[in-house]
């Protein structure tokens, strides 16, 4: 049974209300919205925004995290960061990491999704195999990858066994290859997520469009490039945004596999913030790095979102 109030709620056009206050006045029985959102609002404002504000405040001090009355040094932490080569190195690693991960993960995820939309045997098994790494914790996998890429690990043994011994490397012990190892682990771990999102997005494509294209003589490649790829643009943008923000926040894999080394060659902003704030006890400097990380993440998200909207077409 539908009562009058519910009917009203259902039939009222979306967007016709110009303010909650007027609704309440018009329908006194309707519960106000504020109590419902208040817990979330308190948590959000109290934890997240207060935390951000607190971090911003700490960034103005030369503080070890414990001492009383640390000196306020204004923006000197920020000036120090801009002149800090490790910060720029970490930023460069983040950019390289983002670009490579986005390109490789997108390509692999898209290809896997296309292939598994085809009628192939054991499709369910393949889906499971592709997705399983997503649910494995980096902390569980890090020791495994340290072993795999060790000097006497399986990768080097395999190279030796197939006659490519000259290519054997101390992969995670040299600056020239350590970042590539970190990127490979990230790709291994999260391609499954890209695949799942593309797979779902492709399921939404109208099959009649594909059939029409085939009738018009389009081949597989043409259909993929001209119909499927444009139709999943929204997914691609979302994945790029997630990867960009994830790249800025990257911490667990480099910390657990290489500890940001050797010689800062796998240092990311997240690992650098930890190194500076915790072992080296420059909590104010670390807070300033965190503030810059937040600004970078917001800027990146806005840019990608705006870029994605532009590509979708003119505003309506």
């Amino acid at each position: 049974m539908v009562n009058g109030k519910q009917e009203l709620a259902i039939t009222r056009p979306i967007g016709s209300s110009s303010g909650g206050a007027r609704d309440v006045r018009r329908h006194p029985m309707r519960p106000p919205g504020l109590p419902w959102v208040l817990p979330a609002l308190v948590v959000t404002m109290g934890v997240i925004y207060y935390g951000i504000g607190y971090t911003g405040n700490v960034s103005l001090f030369n503080w070890n995290g414990l001492s009383d009355n640390p000196p306020n040094i204004g923006i000197k932490n920020y000036q120090g960061i801009l002149a800090d080569p490790v910060f720029w190195q970490a930023l460069e690693h983040t950019i390289v990491f983002f670009v490579v991960v986005v390109v490789v993960q997108t390509a692999l995820g898209f290809i896997f999704a296309v292939l598994l939309h085809s009628p192939i045997r054991f499709a369910v098994l393949y889906k499971i195999i592709i997705f399983v790494p997503v649910v494995l914790a980096p902390a569980v996998m890090a020791p495994v990858f340290r072993q795999i890429w060790a000097v006497d690990g399986p990768i080097n043994r395999l190279l030796g066994d197939v006659g490519l011994g000259a290519l054997e490397q101390p992969w995670i012990a040299q600056s020239s290859t350590s970042l590539a190892v970190i990127i490979s682990i990230q790709v291994w771990e999260f391609t499954g997520l890209t695949f799942v999102l593309y797979y779902a997005a492709m399921g939404q494509i109208d099959s009649t469009v594909l059939e029409a294209a085939r009738i018009d003589g389009a081949g597989n490649i043409r259909i993929i490039l001209s119909i499927i790829w444009p139709d999943v643009r929204g997914t691609t943008v979302a994945l790029a945004m997630l990867t960009a923000i994830g790249s800025l926040k990257t911490f667990d894999i480099p910390y657990l596999v290489t500890a940001g080394g050797p010689n800062y060659s796998t240092e990311f902003l997240g690992t650098y913030i930890f190194r500076i704030s915790i072992p080296q006890a420059h909590v104010g400097y670390g807070a300033a790095l965190s503030v810059l990380l937040l600004i970078l993440a917001l800027t990146m998200a806005i840019m990608l979102q705006a870029r994605g909207r532009e590509k979708e077409g003119p505003a309506v």
Partner: protein, 460 residues
Amino acid sequence: MHARFGARSGRRLVAGLAATALAGVGLVGCSPSGSRSSSTNEGSATSGNLVWWGWSPQIGPAQEFITAFNKKYPNIKITYKLVTLDGWDAALRPALASSSGPDLYGISPGPKVANYGDQAVDMTSAIKASLGSDWKSKVTPLDYVPQMYTSSGKLVGAGVGTSDGGSLWINKTLFDKYKLTPPKTLKEWTSDCAVFKRNGVTCYVQGAAQAAFDRDHLQAISNSIKPGVWTAASKGKAKWTDPTIVHALTVWKSLFSNGIMQPGAIGAMQFPDAQNQFFKGNTATILMGSWEVQYSSKRGMAAAQAAAGVATPKPFVMIPIPYPSVTGTSAPDYSMYGDVDYAVAVNSKSKHIAAAKTFAAWLGTTQAGQQAIANSLGSFPSLLSVKPDWSAVGLVDPSVQQAPIQALIDAAGKITEPRLGILSQDMTNAVGVAATTVGAGQATPAQAAKTLQDTFDAGK
């Protein structure tokens, strides 16, 4: 719709950022710390429930210490929590900032006294009550005493023992198997390594990704060239660009090309990678300090081998030797450096300060507490009068091990150079970077030495 996103979402975003900024502005100028209120009532000195955090000792020895302590103080119950050294700062800092941190926590000289000394209770009166007003003459070495004072003059604890570096540990079983004698010079070490390599044995293992152990090794090399220069540079009385330190970095670089350093050392950690590799039994040498003595016993060796993943532990004989002479002019003596291993500090926010002081003073200053420390072999005891009870230790082969280990203990009693006590965390980090960049060929020894001096100057 898209235009709406641009305008409305933009406004929301700006509003959100403004709120964030306001939250920050509201705090600007406010000191991020609160005042630290210490308990005025110290409670009973003979009863209470205490929580003790430490990265050392391990769980087993800690329980033995507590059991021995409870024989005299049965009404003080202590719960020990082992925290990994890597996670120590991340765990302890917020704990001490809160009002629910541990009653007792481990503290060692240098950065830890600098960072956590202010949160500790002054232990001077408790130590004097236990050892008398001439207590400083009863602990060893005398030079270590100042390490446990904060810059404001507070004594944060009585060191339970000493931790000393500069010794090379060898797998004597492997040396005997291949009829090799322990190396006295760098040349002999290189020659031994060639033999081990031919037989599929790793000669030496180091976790060069862990800065503290690179610092240990460089100090050992530097002392082999000219004792005292490293310490003088650490104190600002010599330059880090001193020819001795440049020479030490050059020798360090040579270890990567002369077959001593294992491939991949720069990506390995000393704990657990190098340590585990040594205890698997197929590595001949490792640079470790006095703390390695605890693994010389059958029980310690079995635990270390089990931790290294050895399915059927088979103890081998390990002994310490002086670091080989890099100048090759004479057989080396121990040229060691060391600090207080750790002291047990009492949290000034504890509700059981008196009971906590009782335990901290018992472990660091009494015959019974120090005997427990000595027999664990984890540290060399601070009290001059206490020696390990070898009959209770259970070495793998006392006839081979006891003499060299006693020689190490005797050498440790004469140490005058600090290990970690006077280097800041920033400098230790810089030494790690210098060592790995030189080892990887990314910097020359002279360039690396200059970065050390620059970091030292920046920290003044």
